[in-house]
Amino acid sequence: MSTTAVHGLWTVAAGPVDRIPAPHIEYAQLAPTLIVVGAAVLGVLVEAFVPRKARYHTQVFLAFAALASAFAAVVALAGAGYASGKAQVAAMGALAVDGPALFLQGTILLASVVAVFTFAERHLDPKAHGNRVDSFAAQAASVPGSDSEKAAVKAGFTTTEVFPLALFAVSGMLIFPAANDLLMLFIALEVFSLPLYLLCALARRQRLMSQEAAVKYFLLGAFSSAFLLFGIALLYGYAGSVSYAAIADVVDGTVARMDPALAASTGNDALLLIGGALVLMGLLFKVGAVPFHMWTPDVYQGAPTPVTGFMAAATKVAAFGALLRLLYVVLPGLRWDWRPVMWGVAIVTMLAGAVIAVTQTDVKRLLAYSSIAHAGFILAGVIATSKQGVSSVLFYLAAYSFVTIGAFAVVTLVRDAGGEATHLSKWAGLGRRSPLTAAVFAVFLLAFAGIPLTSGFSGKFAVFAAAAEGGAAPLVVVGVISSAIAAFFYIRVIVLMFFSEPKADGPTVAVPSFLTTSTIAVGVVVTVALGVFPQYFLDLAGQASTFVR
């Protein structure tokens, strides 16, 4: 080896290495997410350093302040034009700041605020040893029924960790619909899923069922994540990039440069189709579409009801946001391939959700199946592949989240000695004993059923109109049929509440504090407002329906 060669080696080794470029982060545009993440981290510190007695109030305040200011940040961003003209991809292309992202983030934050109210409710359960308690286990680590659990209850412990957990989940959900590359998508998925698994396990009553639900959710969630991850790998193999824009370029055939190392696999349609299908599957799992829905009833039933409401609303918004972005930004060039498949999924989802709900006897399971059917309706809007389709889905999600949180909040009120009385037979004659509660629940049920003058009607009308214009008329027919089937079980509950004799040992309706009251009130107001004056909100969703690429 000659000296020059040795020297050459040396100089190469010692020469300036290609440094990892410092990413350029647009902090202001990412403020909503950053605020929530920051508050979540602070919440962990609160758990560590703030005395036990003060934790509850500190955490509630922190969570509320964080969510409210994050919402303010979303509004400010939208007001500054990021929802329309100034839409851009931030953080080195990892996150999109555009209309759909901001609209959905705003929806998630508002839904989370009212959901956190139900988390913080402490007036429903009777006092345990003189301490007010919420819906969560005294000490999550103690074995159900054990001495340590009893000691924890006696000591008046409460699991105030739920607030930082919820904030972490919210932060993941904020990223999910904004994620603009596949890795970000996966990370966001895990960031919001893991806290949710934990939250599901934290019910104060029927802890075994709650833990079972959490384990099932975790196992199936991990299983679906694996599919998603595999799909991401295949898509990377196809396009040589995980960025949405880059994949879309390859799909469109307008790719600028090809990575020579990947030349062998790039543009291989089998990779694209299989990878796309698997990523879709991962997202369909989260929205609860058939046949990936089976976790939904068990988890909805087992989880603490406030968590169920939060999960049913916010997760669905986030997951549909991600699904929309994937289908509209990454795979629009492929829509002749995915549309028929999604047609099938939507049809099966609408019908199965509605049909199975007919024989349910537990109100939480009933609402779970109802949420499956609604996922099908929303999918019909997604399939429209038009601007109108996007705006209708955005509107539907906003309308649906408030109905859902409100309905589950009402469920927390109807109680007997064993906690919440979720068996439908116990709801018989509720309208005679507690007309207001029953009437409010009836409003939510009518909204679920899509009766005019409720938000459910406006939303359903919007998605079906978009689907019909997008050439999916048969889907609309199926949608209307399953709406008819679904109306049966919603109305049946109303009939049960108002036209049946109350049972002697029936449940009582607990008197909530202003927290749950305001959650329900917000639910009713939004439901009626979006039903009577939908136009403003439809316009808003319409303005926010363009994806940045």
Binding site: F223, D269, G276, A277, P297, I356, V358
Partner: protein, 646 residues
């Protein structure tokens, strides 16, 4: 100036709102407020009228656009008004007669504890009726149309404690529904044909539309007119509507609302002109009703029902005239106005008589009242002379023109229609003379007041003890003054309108006008009318003036008995419609039970069964859920690949 148009409607509407929502506080003053607002509306109408007169004949239409009611792409429904000569005529009639009847009602309803509500309804009626005639499109007209229907329903059933009044109100409402259906279908046809409801574009584009469509629209409009104006075959409600307080009968069921059908037909003249078939049907309906009402009017002993038959018959004249086309439109409206005066006057007179006679309505129990109620007698008498067409009085000018125009229609139709109109004039003279003789002449046939328990038809608030003999007396000033004013109208309006053909000239820009030339000459027609008049009066005098009138009605001839039963209108409706409807519903119920319920029940059972099976898939084991997910993913991937055919 056109900004005043909305105020015409707004004033009585405000009155209705205040009176109906104001509560008991207004019990003492409410009737004054209602009357004042009606008068305000009349005042505005007069101002607009003077303004209109001051402008050239072809520039008299005023428009006022208020707001866009239902702005949807391709479907524009505006709240906009159009005031032209035709609307103006109606505005003055409605507000003028309306105000007089408000004044009359102050006295008439004095003892009624729900007087405030009564005035609220009257104001509501005025507002709706003005909306009807001022609307510049058919949809807004429909709003007014339904509004007057509602007011009519409320006022017929005003004494709702009487089952007969409640039933009558319901009957009127139901029969009117049939007509309203016609109007709504006509409006829908207009929208699909012309794409708009506004009078201008609809009537302006008639020339470019097929005659079949126009005939369909015309017949539907005629159906609507039949319902509102009590024309055969939807005439049956008007007689029962007399259950309402007498001022209501005068205002709504004689002078204004029942003429809305005539307004509709004249307003839609362009459609009928372009469809001779529809126009002929209009004329036939008018001619049939003219005879129908007149015959019914001959047999009724109830003074109000006799007048109701007469109203039906007179509106038949107007519809007949409207069915003659441009040679008749102006005379239809002219007769409408003169009829508004003399018929309102006759009804108010009848109310005055009833007021003095303990609310007795049976003319066989009147007799000789001319000495006791001189003002009522004179005003009623002038109304009587006007309606039978006594030369020089209002009815003479308008009715004679209609008969002439009917003859001028030409051909066999002309002879038949003209003959019917002439015969109608004779019958009119007969039954009105009968009413006059029975009420004001002859012996006193007064009966003691009936026991309210057995005859609960007595209006509330009036103290009548069973067995009391009536003490007929002249009514208070508030009632006689409107009667006197209306009597002036009955006497002079027709002559004034005919002076230099002023009325025809006034309406011509809107309705267009052609001179009709009867085949036998106008003078001959007038002569024939006079002969008919004399014959009718003479016959009535022979029957009721020269012989004592029995208090209990004799059995009478077959025709009399048929006429007493309104020529079997209710029997017909009952057999054909009610029975038919019952059979139809029964068979539908059968189909519903056996087929529909079977299908529904079967579907429900199928869904339930399916649900129960599918539910078992949800077995609670995470492993089987995972299998289903795996299977689902496999299907998803396979389907995606299959779509591409890779």
């Amino acid at each position: 100036m056109e900004n005043l148009i909305a105020l015409l409607v707004a004033a009585p509407l405000l009155g209705a709102a205040v009176l109906l929502c104001g509560g008991r506080r207004l019990d003492k003053t409410g009737h004054w407020l209602g009357t004042l607002l009606a008068a305000v509306s009349f005042g505005i109408g007069a101002v607009l009228f003077v303004d209109m007169l001051g402008r050239p004949a072809d520039d008299r239409t005023m428009d006022q656009f208020l707001y866009s009611w239902i702005p949807v792409e391709g479907f524009q429904a505006d709240v906009a008004f159009q005031l032209d000569q035709l609307s103006m005529t109606f505005v003055l009639l409605i507000t003028g007669v309306g105000t007089l009847i408000h004044v009359y009602s102050i006295g008439y309803m004095e003892h009624d504890e729900r007087r405030r509500r009564f005035f609220g309804y009257l104001n509501l009626f005025l507002a709706a009726m003005l909306l009807l005639v001022l609307a510049d499109n058919y949809l807004l007209l429909y709003v007014g149309w339904e509004g007057v229907g509602l007011a009519s329903y409320l006022l017929i059933g005003f004494w709702q404690h009487k089952p007969s009044a409640a039933t009558a109100a319901k009957k009127a409402f139901l029969v009117n529904r049939v007509g309203d259906m016609g109007l709504s279908i006509a409006i829908m046809l207009m929208f699909t044909t012309f794409g708009t409801f506004a009078f201008g574009p609809v009537l302006g584009s008639v020339g470019r539309t097929s005659e079949g469509t126009l005939t369909a629209i015309g017949l539907m409009l005629l159906l609507a007119a039949c319902g509102k104006s009590a024309q055969v075959p939807l005439q049956s409600w008007l007689g029962d509507a007399m259950e309402g307080p007498t001022p209501v009968s005068a205002l709504i069921h004689a002078a204004t609302m029942v003429t809305a059908g005539v307004y509709l037909i004249v307003r839609s003249g362009a459609i009928f002109n372009a469809s001779p078939d529809a126009q002929l049907v209009v004329a036939i309906v008018g001619a049939v009703t003219l005879l129908f009402g007149a015959i019914v009017g001959c047999a009724k002993d109830d003074i109000k029902k006799a007048l109701a038959g007469s109203t039906m018959s007179q509106i038949g004249y107007m519809v007949l005239a409207a069915g003659l086309g441009p040679i008749g439109y102006a005379f239809a409206i002219m007769h409408l106005v003169t009829h508004g005066f003399f018929k309102a006057g006759l009804f108010l007179g009848a109310g005055s008589v009833m007021h003095g006679m303990n609310d007795e309505v049976d003319m066989r129990k009147y007799g000789g009242l001319r000495k006791y109620m001189p003002v009522t007698f004179v005003t009623f008498g002038l109304g009587y002379l006007a309606i039978i067409g006594f030369p020089g009085l209002s009815g003479f000018w308008s009715k004679d023109k209609i008969i002439e125009a009917a003859f001028a229609k030409g051909g066999t139709e002309g002879w038949i229609l003209g003959g019917v109109a002439l015969l109608g004039a004779a019958i009119t003279a007969y039954y009105m003379t009968r009413v006059m003789l029975l009420t004001f002449f002859g012996e006193k046939r007064w009966q003691p007041a009936p026991d309210p328990d057995t005859a609960p038809s007595v209006e509330p608030g009036i103290e009548v003890h069973p067995g009391d003999m009536p003490h007929p007396h002249e009514s208070p000033r508030s009632m006689t003054i409107p009667m006197i004013v209306l009597a002036f109208g009955s006497v002079f309006a027709g002559g004034l309108f005919s002076l230099n053909e002023s009325f025809v000239t006034w309406l011509e820009p809107v309705t267009s006008f052609e001179h009709g030339h009867p085949p036998i000459g106008a003078a001959a027609v007038t002569g024939a009318t006079m002969v008919a008049l004399v014959l009718g009066v003479a016959l009535a005098y022979a029957q009721y003036g020269r012989r004592p009138v029995p208090v209990v009605a004799p059995r009478g001839s077959l025709l009399t008995r048929a006429a007493r039963r309104d020529l079997f209108q209710d029997d017909f409706n009952h057999v054909v419609l009610v029975r038919g409807g019952e059979h139809l519903t029964r068979s539908l119920v059968y189909v519903d039970h056996s087929l529909v319920d079977g299908a529904v029940g079967g579907t429900a059972a199928a869904v339930g069964g399916l649900s129960g099976r599918l539910r078992k898939l949800q077995n609670g084991y995470a492993r089987s859920y995972a299998v289903s997910m795996f299977g689902g993913a496999a299907v998803l991937v396979a389907a995606t690949l299959l779509m591409r055919g890779v």
